[in-house]
């Protein structure tokens, strides 16, 4: 995983499997982004996710909160069906909606 600069937007594309190590890496990347002094939009690409995990979704939630605290927003782009299902199963459909829609 890495942070891509897409015309001024900072994008992290999630891998297919969001296991514990990925959750850990994602946390570090989001921390990095949250600490940057930038107004750039921050997005996480969820199209390629085949298997989500509670650990990774916790990190996404905390990441969204961290950015919100800095009056910025974490956007989840094109979440895959498994990722949507995982949010729904964890009772976090509303949190997902907030991350998807502007």
């Amino acid at each position: 995983m890495k942070i891509n600069d897409d015309n001024g937007r900072l994008v992290i594309d999630l891998p297919a499997v969001l296991d514990l190590p990925v959750a850990s890496e994602l946390r570090d990347l989001l921390l990095d982004l949250a600490s940057r002094d930038t107004a750039a939009e921050i997005a996480v690409g969820g199209a390629g996710v085949e298997r989500a995990s509670t650990a990774a979704i916790q990190v996404l939630l905390a990441g969204a909160q961290a950015l919100k605290a800095a009056s910025r927003r974490l956007e989840l782009e094109a979440p895959s069906e498994p990722l949507i299902t995982a949010f729904r199963h964890l009772g976090l459909a509303n949190d997902l909606n907030r991350m998807i829609t502007a």
């Binding site: 499997v17 296991d19 514990l20 190590p21 298997r51 995990s53 650990a55």
Partner: protein, 121 residues
């Protein structure tokens, strides 16, 4: 794609049984005959579930569980330990080491499939 299961047991019969049952249900199975061999497998590839015997030469199952939990790549991988009815203490040791669950030998193919499906992410 079929989920990949690592079956660790020094008994070929047991490995065959596990492999056979799981392959029949669409899993990919990798076998290892003890903990050391299992760790070698895990260095080369990621697996989705690990099923391991407890008493094995070279490295026993409990040590294996502990070592796997220390591997960054498999920190949260489900691990099922194979125990016998009488060996209560091994279950506790397994839990303490970070195992996900256990299966008591002998088990039916259905039971095995049911439990693997239960923990398979």
């Amino acid at each position: 794609m079929g989920k990949c299961v690592l079956a660790v047991d020094d008994s070929k019969t047991m490995r065959d049984m596990v492999s056979f049952t799981l392959r029949g249900a669409g899993y990919t199975v990798v076998e290892a005959e003890h903990g050391v061999a299992a760790l070698k497998v895990l260095q080369g590839q990621k697996v989705d579930v690990i099923i391991t015997d407890v008493n094995m030469p070279e490295m026993d199952g409990i040590t294996l569980v502990r070592k796997v939990r220390g591997l960054p790549t498999h920190a949260g991988t489900p691990i099922l330990i194979l125990t016998t009815e009488s060996d209560q203490s091994k279950k506790d040791e397994g839990r303490a080491a970070g195992a996900t669950g256990w299966i008591v030998k002998p088990f039916s193919p259905d039971k095995l499939l049911q439990i693997v499906a239960k923990v398979c992410p």
